[in-house]
């Protein structure tokens, strides 16, 4: 059973969103990292770039496959987790902590309402 922390929001694409003040922090879920297996490379977005909802911003490559990461909401990328460039395994080891991928502003707070809560996401996983 994969972990689904109750304080986060989720997307159907197995990404999580943590609201911190006016910002949102993005990563991939425990289920996603387990399905991908060992992550070997993370393509990070550029900071200062404005992205629209569901725009592909980067990718996570494992020994098994490459998956795009989408912006769950619209906003501007303000910070990326550069430590993933040297230690992509943090996504496997700590997907909700050190494995965070980027931080962004929230341009339209109403888009947050479209995201799933932990109960709905767990239901999607069938757990």
């Amino acid at each position: 059973m994969s972990q689904v922390p109750s304080n986060l929001k989720y997307t159907a694409e197995h990404e999580w969103v943590r609201i911190e003040g006016n910002d949102a922090v993005i990563g991939i879920t425990d289920f996603a990292q387990d399905a991908l297996t060992d992550v070997v490379w993370v393509e990070l977005p550029e900071t200062g770039v404005s992205v629209s909802e569901m725009e592909a911003c980067g990718s996570v490559e494992s020994v098994k496959s490459v998956s795009e990461i989408y912006a769950p909401i619209a906003g501007e990328i303000t910070e990326v987790n550069e430590s993933l460039e040297d230690s992509p395994e943090q996504i496997n080891e700590d997907p909700y902590g050190n494995g965070w991928i980027w931080r962004m502003t929230v341009s339209d707070a109403s888009q947050l309402d479209d995201l799933m809560d932990a109960v709905a996401y767990s239901a999607q996983l069938g757990e």
């Binding site: 399905a35 070997v40 490379w41 020994v63 496959s65």
Partner: protein
């Protein structure tokens, strides 16, 4: 480990360079561009060189050493007749720059192959230039792009692919500058027409799809899908990777496609694997024909002059609005000739090839998924079908999730264990819409005995101690490699100059 660069015989062994034809040629090169040390080329004698490559070949696994059910790759037996034909002096002793009148034989083979591919696919014009399926995809999408531009429709900037597509489809379209729109499959793994209707519009350039799909299932609503895309003004592109399942039964032209690529190395046999050598011709409907890469083979009628014997003069022709060349010379001529030999050898019997490919896939799937009760009782947990289809085409998928969840054995572990039994593993973790996917394509050239033995061995692996499976392979020359290390610490060149 045998490394060619470790051979270090006497100076001059293995290679020598002729004196330059121009006197003082060396002095004409600026000193800043001259190398300070001689390259450390291997100095192997002929027997050493032969032994090196023989050693490498003995560590290799191929269709000539064992069963190779690698899904989507169509690893069939390569008839040796093809090799005799391709080694005829009129074919393998010619140069691509020779004038047309000296290569009438090869040109006639090219012309005939173009025609035969047009017939089996329902297309109007074929080019044999692309040397791989993905290059064929790129070529066809470029032709479609020029077609839209010629009609003043530069606004068409999106290419639609289903989520079960081969990864090369979105990659080829992206190489042409298109944005990719991925549509989800329906719950049965087939095309979701509602999702397609929602995706098409004034900006649709094309849809790329393989049929049968990567799940090995024939798309029952392909004609409707083509109508939806055409009504929106888009073009339909057929990925021919799975042609082996339908040849002689139906064709992409009838399904409503405008362009198609063929993998000659798969469908029409040619030794391949490890990246080549391949041949990925494309065929198009007449409205796209003027954009094809140059040149294509053509012919004109002549009064019997006794030169070529068949009453035609063959020549290279450039299509009027060609996109240019996608490959130097005339594509992979050796692969084209082998495929031509295969096609000519079987002719209309190619229909039986598809029948046997489909029969073999369904038989193997049935044997694996319906073991006798004794075997079934000894297996702690069975895989699931990758797609809920009663009948598949030339390949099928299994979902190994039940094993992963109950005994911790992944699809990869089973694939690795198959190597110990002397098989190539099936395709692993593709298509991605099937979790823990294994994808099998036995091809038409395997006998019932081979399939029975494989099914028996596969089921036996499911009864084994999970630890044995998880640590496989045990009996291969190289044990399980560290894929994570290999991917994170890439070594892409020989450390030749570091010493």
């Amino acid at each position: 480990m045998s490394d060619l660069f470790q051979f270090n015989g006497a100076k001059g062994t293995g290679w020598s360079q002729p004196d330059p034809m121009i006197k003082n040629a060396y002095d004409t090169i600026p000193s800043s561009l001259r190398r300070s040390n001689l390259p450390r080329w291997p100095r192997a004698s002929e027997p050493e060189l032969v032994r090196h490559y023989t050693w490498l070949s003995q560590r290799n696994f191929g269709i000539d050493t064992g069963f190779y059910p690698l899904g989507s790759c169509t690893m069939k037996h390569n008839p040796r007749l093809n090799e005799r034909i391709v080694q005829l002096p009129g074919i393998d002793r010619i140069h691509p720059l020779q004038p047309d009148h000296q290569i009438q034989g090869l040109l006639s083979i090219y012309y005939e192959m173009q025609e035969m591919l047009e017939v089996c696919s329902g297309m109007d014009q074929v080019t044999l230039q692309p040397v791989a399926g993905a290059q064929g995809e790129f070529t066809a999408i470029r032709c479609i792009q020029e077609y839209h531009r010629s009609r003043g429709q530069e606004n068409r900037n999106k290419v639609i692919v289903p989520d079960s597509a081969h990864g090369t489809n979105p990659a080829s379209a992206a190489m042409c500058g298109y944005d990719i729109v991925e549509i989800p499959s329906a719950s049965n793994g087939c095309l979701d027409l509602d999702a397609l209707r929602a995706a098409v519009g004034d900006d649709t350039a094309a849809m790329m799809i393989t049929n049968p799909s990567t799940l090995g299932i024939f798309e029952p609503e392909i004609a409707e899908a083509a109508e939806i895309v055409h009504n929106a003004g888009g073009q339909m592109y057929y990925d021919g990777a799975n042609f082996n399942a339908i040849l002689g039964k139906t064709d992409p032209g009838r399904m409503g496609f405008d362009a198609v690529h063929y993998n000659l190395h798969k469908t029409f046999s040619q030794p391949h694997g490890g990246g080549g050598p391949g041949s990925g011709p494309i065929g198009v409907k007449s409205h796209l024909a003027d954009f094809l890469p140059a040149p294509i083979a053509d012919r004109e009628s002549i009064d019997g002059d006794g030169v070529t014997g068949d009453g035609y003069r063959y020549f290279w022709r450039d299509p009027s609005r060609t996109i240019g060349k996608v490959q130097q010379w005339h594509g992979n001529a050796g692969a084209v000739v082998r495929a031509w030999a295969f096609y000519r050898r079987y002719g209309y019997e190619l229909e039986r090839m598809s029948e046997h490919a489909v029969l073999n896939a369904n038989y193997l799937r049935h044997r694996i998924m319906n073991p006798d009760s004794d075997t079934l009782n000894s297996i702690p947990v069975m895989p699931k079908d990758g797609a809920p289809a009663e009948i598949v085409k030339h390949e099928f998928t299994l979902n190994m999730t039940p094993l992963k969840e109950t005994i911790g054995v992944t699809g990869k572990d089973v694939a690795k264990r198959l190597l110990d039994y002397g098989y190539m593993a099936p395709t692993l973790y593709f298509p991605q819409i099937v979790p823990e996917c294994l994808m099998f394509e036995p091809t038409e050239t395997e006998s019932k005995d081979v399939l029975d033995k494989f099914a028996e061995d596969f089921l036996k692996i499911l009864t084994e101690d999970p630890e044995i499976v998880k640590t496989a392979p045990h009996d291969t020359k190289v044990r399980r490699v560290d894929e994570v290390l290999a991917a994170r610490s890439l070594v892409l060149r020989h450390p030749l100059n570091d010493e």
